[in-house]
Symmetry: D2
Subunit: 328 residues, 4 copies
């Protein structure tokens, strides 16, 4: 199929490449003309504006917008919509908030345009490994785009099939290939958002575990209860037959193998919106989510040297344990 790829950063550029390798045609646009030129060198048609890109697309036009969530995505989609013809399709492949998807899909529907949101996981590994995709939108449009998703997805590959899985009984056969049609517009990004919320929780579970392992050599402990553990070997051995093996553990084992003190990392940990939005969703549904929240808050805490709250604690302790005059 012919796709207008807007945004040629690491994610957009690699997706375009994976699509072209499998025979799709790409019309490429980015504010950065150099990024366009690079993709043209790899076989894409270049465009120096959205208008020019539209001219090179078929009808209905298929746009894949791969930009940072927020204002720039919103503005780009509005600009595309302003010059679109009925039936055109806009795919937001970024990390938009799912309520923005719901709103946008409604706005585009009024112009007879189709909106599809695609949450993707796989990061920099996607070019080779394929992208895990969670898709929201109306059925006809998602079905029409199937060749695109099939190319981008990892496929069955070497991952064992789930034994009990029954095909064709209300399940989505595409799940085994690495993509699903999750529901109407917004559902794709919603599922991706929860994915990221879980990711934070998993990461923090490993982080706390390794922290306790490392702390076991502490001189605070009685001498005969101290161990000087080799974290690199522990991460490695857990990859092999243990209940907690995972891709995140594989990455941890790699990092520790390079440097078991992780000394190139300062430990100030960023968070993107999805962790925050996941907790919002939990609260809207009144679902307790202590682990996902604690994981998010650990990141907030990692980015400040101390909190004002800590000072309040100290001030109280001074108040009842110390040197204040008696109130009158």
């Amino acid at each position: 199929m012919k796709i207008g790829m807007i945004g040629l950063g690491r994610m957009g550029g690699n997706m375009a490449r994976r699509l072209m390798r499998d025979g799709h045609q790409i019309v490429a646009f980015d504010r950065d003309a150099g990024a366009v030129a690079k993709l043209v060198a790899d076989g894409a048609e270049g465009a120096s504006s959205l208008d020019e890109a539209r001219g090179k697309l078929d009808s209905p036009a298929i746009w894949w917008v791969m930009l940072p969530a927020g204002e720039i995505t919103q503005a780009t989609i509005e600009q595309i919509a302003a010059n679109a013809q009925p039936g055109d399709i806009v795919i937001d492949g970024g990390n938009s908030f799912y309520k923005d998807d719901i709103r946008r899909a409604k706005a585009l529907r009024e112009k007879q345009l189709h909106y599809v949101d695609v949450g993707t996981s796989g990061g920099v590994w996607g070019l080779e490994r394929g992208y895990c995709m969670m898709i929201g939108g109306d059925k006809e449009t998602v079905d029409l785009l199937d060749p695109i998703f099939r190319t981008l997805a990892p496929g069955i590959g070497t991952i064992p099939r789930t034994p009990e899985r029954v095909q064709g009984e209300g399940e989505d056969d595409r799940a085994e290939l690495g993509y699903i049609h999750a529901g109407p517009a917004g559902a794709g990004h919603f599922v991706k958002m929860i994915h990221n919320g879980i990711e934070y929780g998993l990461m923090q579970a490993y982080a706390e575990g390794f922290d306790i392992l490392k702390g076991k050599s502490s001189e605070k402990l009685p001498e005969d209860e101290r161990f000087d553990l080799n974290l690199t070997d522990i991460a490695e051995v857990w990859r092999r037959g243990s209940v907690i093996s995972s891709w995140l553990l594989d990455l941890t084992a790699q990092a520790l193998a390079r440097d078991n003190a992780l000394s190139t990392f300062s430990g100030r940990v960023a968070d993107s919106g999805e962790g925050h939005w996941t907790i919002d969703a939990a609260m809207e549904e009144a679902v307790p989510a202590n682990v996902l929240t604690a994981a998010l808050f650990a990141r907030y805490r990692s980015r400040v040297d101390h909190t004002f709250g800590d000072q309040v604690l100290s001030a109280m302790r001074f108040g009842f344990g110390g040197h204040v005059e008696m109130p009158q």
Copy 2:
């Protein structure tokens, strides 16, 4: 009554003074002869050793040990027990772990000695305000010591009586005076331990609230959603008619009134054993205690610049979002 007060720090010294003011006699001992001399100046008999102190006490001897929990308390009690006569009474007024009380009471019982554990709250305010006491031990001994507890306790004072409270129906009348016989040996320190666990939770609730209030001026927020709030006034107003008024809030209001930036406090917050032991108790009973635990962990976190766990998070993020070569 005549009491051997062992340990004349701020707590022990003030308790001795409050007892003497009400007509009790104190035999005072401390490793620090200066502390003994000071209390002698206030009316106590001094002693330069436990043996000498024993000689000045009646039979049965009443010992009040007011030392840091742990080895020194244990050693002192053992030494007292070694020279004791049947019927002598040892009161541990420090912050011992309640399982140590259970063990010690059993050991002393074999020598026909009585052991009483007293958890006290009130800190430096106790000399004037009185000490809130939670007492463990056998009934006869606790009853015998009642004049001592009555003197140390705050009494009804100006605190309104609980309207629905019925006297003499299985309730302990002494509660209104500020002390209770909580149960057998260990029960006093157990109740005090939970008291401190709750204290941590309360403190952290205020700390987080003030942290969010302070953060509301952050430039991260949209300009029309920022407020520059006066925390000093907020603490003060909440003392007056609000649901969250408390003594800890009074102390917070005082601290903020002195310096609304709390700039003399670095925010590295110590914890004593009770918070930790409270979580142990929760786990032994399989009681979920998310708030009390989070409060304890916030203190741990306040004392380190970053955690190794934070570095693990960063290493993973680098792994899936970045620059690592594809695994083979």
Copy 3:
């Protein structure tokens, strides 16, 4: 002053009474004519519509809207605004979300109307004890309304003054009387929102502590480590000289004095919006708030018999510990 009180539920009705007792005049309106009649019997002028109420007010009119947060408050304020004259003042005394206040104040300002948001704490005790108030709005309007706030507030009363508090140095003298001008529109409800977030945290800290005390009699524990503690007495004694004395503890002591098993309470605990919004605010500011969040989630959890998440855990445990066939 003359005030149009809209909404004569327990809060609105009692506020009107407290105002009239101190010489203010009330024009009363409620959808429920019976509520109006009752307040007329207590000295108010009644009105059977907002229009009629407007006719009985001075210029500028002062409206106090005391309705449930959300649609009805919004609709009422819009209706008042539609018939208002420049300079009229609308006070929202309910529990509105502060971002709604910011939006409404802007909308009213365009019509030369003034909007003031008042967060109140004190519940059913306010008629006698006075209402703790946190006020948002422009300075002139808040100053103009001062006689109203002064009447509603508790005043200094018997609560000791904060010793270090310096008057007239950037602090708000009104704080000691039980009300503050917290900032522009929205600031009042924002501060009240955080107040409630803290309230949840404090309550949960006590709840967990009492839970552990109660569990100490569990047969799961070794026999010599069990205590059968009297929670009624413990709550009472902590009111007297301990670090954790508070109004919430007073209420707990009352409840336990009535029935130490709290058997009339099922333990399904509601939450209003403020707890949720407090966590939203924490996330917007990237402030870790583990305690306040855990307190909110405990309420969510209390209202369901089990979670789907619990079933997921069981399913996993079955998977790795049990009876599933080997994947192929």
Copy 4:
């Protein structure tokens, strides 16, 4: 090698079988004679007592004790030690607390016996997949036992090697085969304990995520923000190329494929000691572990219908929001 396998439950029996398949000899003992008979049918020598088993073993004897942690393991090891000859080796392959290992190793060392603790992960899958093992003990003994561990371990198999891993530079080559010598006695079970603590955290992260996904169809939500998500497909798609793929997710996908409502699971979730001990270790080291703790507490909470703490909350809310008389 010749091994005395004590305890022929699912774990012990399967380990014995895996060892025999690879040429080792097993002397089998269990209180249950039927279990012995079954293993004899598979090629083991049977024994009807520990004494008889000792007679059939070489010198030094190698014992693998595979019994529930606690009294029975302790008693069995004591009995073995009582009849042991210098140089004999006792391996505890169960889930003992690591401080018990430290104590036992010291006691056995005094009799010139060797103690090795082996934490194993892999559950019922181990017979086919191999057992991930974390081993504590002195170097000579662990090296001597290497043929046993090599047989039980999964080996490299199909799991990709960690690219950056350098052999022979202070790392343990055995980690890639699925076992490590973690340190002195106790270190094996300590590492296994943390493994289980992490396991709880990972499981709870998935559980909360799926709970939020399921709740997204709730009628509490605005109609246009509800999604009716297919959890079975979501679990499946996340297995393929996403950041959160793991073995636990594989198991979840299997369970959902069998029954997407998980209706055979009630959601009352057990916990073994390791989760609890992990938090103990965190507290001893002063390491914040909010996620691991919240995961443990979620299990406690899942096993009760409500908590007394919830009732305390309700009682307080009644107190300040309702119908209590004013305190005097």
